[in-house]
């Protein structure tokens, strides 16, 4: 096993193309998998020394979050927190304070766990991932990266460089909720993120609803969004939203929850997240 810490993204890309090479950003997934003997890397590529990857940049179009930014730093960035409260609250629910000091949203995305906390919020936010690889740079929607538990669409040598969050119109907000048996330090049994924009009268103009831990990948549930667009999130709209989320959920039964439980709670959380997002966006 070798450890390298390249100074440039190009160098990292070259190294990442090698067999059994793993990217180390926060390490909160990689080191756990190494400890459990699930992986035994030949090469570990620490990307934290690469210039820019540790920064959150405010661009003309929004925010660019470097792949090596620890989640704790998201919560300390006032402008980001104010613009994307749902994304930030999701990132700040991963593991513990100690884990948040290490883990990154890019890592959370690339680890491709169906229960990843930040991914539903990023999907609801329509976040884009900037990918650099042997054949250059490309930008894709984050939901296209995880393709199944532990699997991604990234080609050999491809590295996520940053996550991009676009500016939203006024009267927009988002929220993320997850269900865990404890109050902290847990993996989502079910999770839901809602991102919405209101018109001046408080009617929902656009919405995106994403669910975690109820399928092999995060689900973007358009039926759920449709159920609340054009409404002021009245009781009927909320019921329809919840029903759409429960219907869209295709969970497995495992040690963390049953199929029935996850389907039901997916609806419950989506409803609650929608209410929070609506209020944050200025809805009454």
């Amino acid at each position: 096993m070798h450890y390298v810490r390249p100074n440039s993204i190009e160098e990292a890309v070259d190294l990442a193309a090698k067999d059994n090479a793993f990217i180390l950003a926060g390490g909160s997934d990689l080191l756990v998998r190494m400890k459990g003997d699930f992986v035994d890397p030949d090469l570990i590529i620490d990307i934290k020394a690469i210039k820019g990857l540790g920064d959150i940049r405010e661009t003309d179009g929004g925010f660019s979050i470097g792949a090596a930014v620890p989640c704790a730093a998201l919560g300390e960035h006032a402008a980001l927190k104010s613009a994307w409260p749902g994304v930030v609250e999701a990132a700040n629910l991963i593991g513990s304070k100690q884990v948040q000091g290490r883990c990154t949203i890019a890592g959370n995305l690339c680890n491709a766990s169906p229960a990843a906390d930040s991914v539903p919020a990023l999907v609801a936010a329509d976040a884009q991932a900037v990918i650099i690889g042997p054949s250059g740079k490309r930008t894709v929607a984050v939901q296209s990266i995880p393709t199944g538990p532990g699997k991604t669409s990234l080609a050999a040598g491809e590295i996520v460089e940053s996550i991009e969050l676009a500016n939203r119109p006024a009267r927009s907000s988002d929220a993320y909720l997850r269900f865990i048996p404890r109050s902290e330090m847990d993996i989502a049994v079910v999770s839901a993120a809602v991102n919405l924009t209101l018109d001046s009268s408080g009617v929902i103009e656009t919405a995106r609803v994403a669910l975690g831990a109820v399928a092999a990948t995060v689900l973007l549930v358009t039926e759920a969004a449709d159920a609340i667009v054009g409404t002021k999130l009245d009781a009927d709209a909320l019921d329809k939203l919840a029903a759409a989320c429960s219907a869209a959920s295709k969970p497995i039964a495992d040690k963390r929850g049953t199929v029935e439980y996850r389907k039901k709670v997916a609806g419950v959380l989506a409803r609650r997240a929608a209410e929070i997002a609506y209020k944050r966006a200025g809805g009454q």
């Binding site: 909160s28 080191l31 400890k35 570990i44 620890p70 704790a72 513990s96 304070k97 100690q98 290490r102």
Partner: protein
């Protein structure tokens, strides 16, 4: 296999060591540097007993590679007291009987110190959530929370 040469700063002292790529910072602290204050309760970031601060960030040292320590500033439980003068948190943990077996105590102190540096006047809820990454099986947390509250008060000079 040759080791990786690392130069780092631990509790203000420059420290050099050799380690293998797969060794964690916790392994290095405990097995190579003889600093056994950080404990391995799980090795997977779930218990907080190995908490240290790296470049101002509270982390589990079991989730950091030793090689990553190069050029960093690391603070451990061994550096919290000023010589034989205990930090107020250490004093309050003893005074409030906030430890029984004591194996989680180093991690709690490192985490609590980080918490109070970020938030000198936390509510009980903020303390509880701030320390949720540290497991204690003996105390039920009651006396730990009280010790942190009291230390915060003393540190604020209130």
């Amino acid at each position: 296999m040759s080791g990786i040469a690392v130069t780092t700063t631990i509790n203000g002292d420059t420290v050099e060591f050799l380690c293998q790529a797969e060794e964690t910072l916790l392994d290095v602290l405990r097995n190579r540097l003889g600093m056994t204050g950080a404990k391995e309760g799980c090795g997977t970031g779930d218990c907080g007993a190995c908490s240290v601060v790296v470049d101002g960030r509270l982390v589990c040292s079991c989730l950091v590679l030793g090689a990553e320590a190069e050029g960093r500033k690391i603070e451990t439980i061994e550096g919290i007291a000023d010589g034989d003068t205990l930090h107020p948190l250490q004093e309050k943990f003893i005074e409030h009987a906030a430890l029984q077996c004591g194996v989680c105590t180093p991690g709690f102190l490192v985490a609590a110190k980080d918490l109070l540096e970020r938030n000198p006047d936390p509510t009980e809820e903020e303390i509880r959530f701030g320390l949720a990454g540290n497991l204690c099986r003996c105390t039920g947390y009651d006396k730990i929370v009280r010790a942190v509250q009291d230390a915060a008060k003393e540190m604020r000079g209130a």
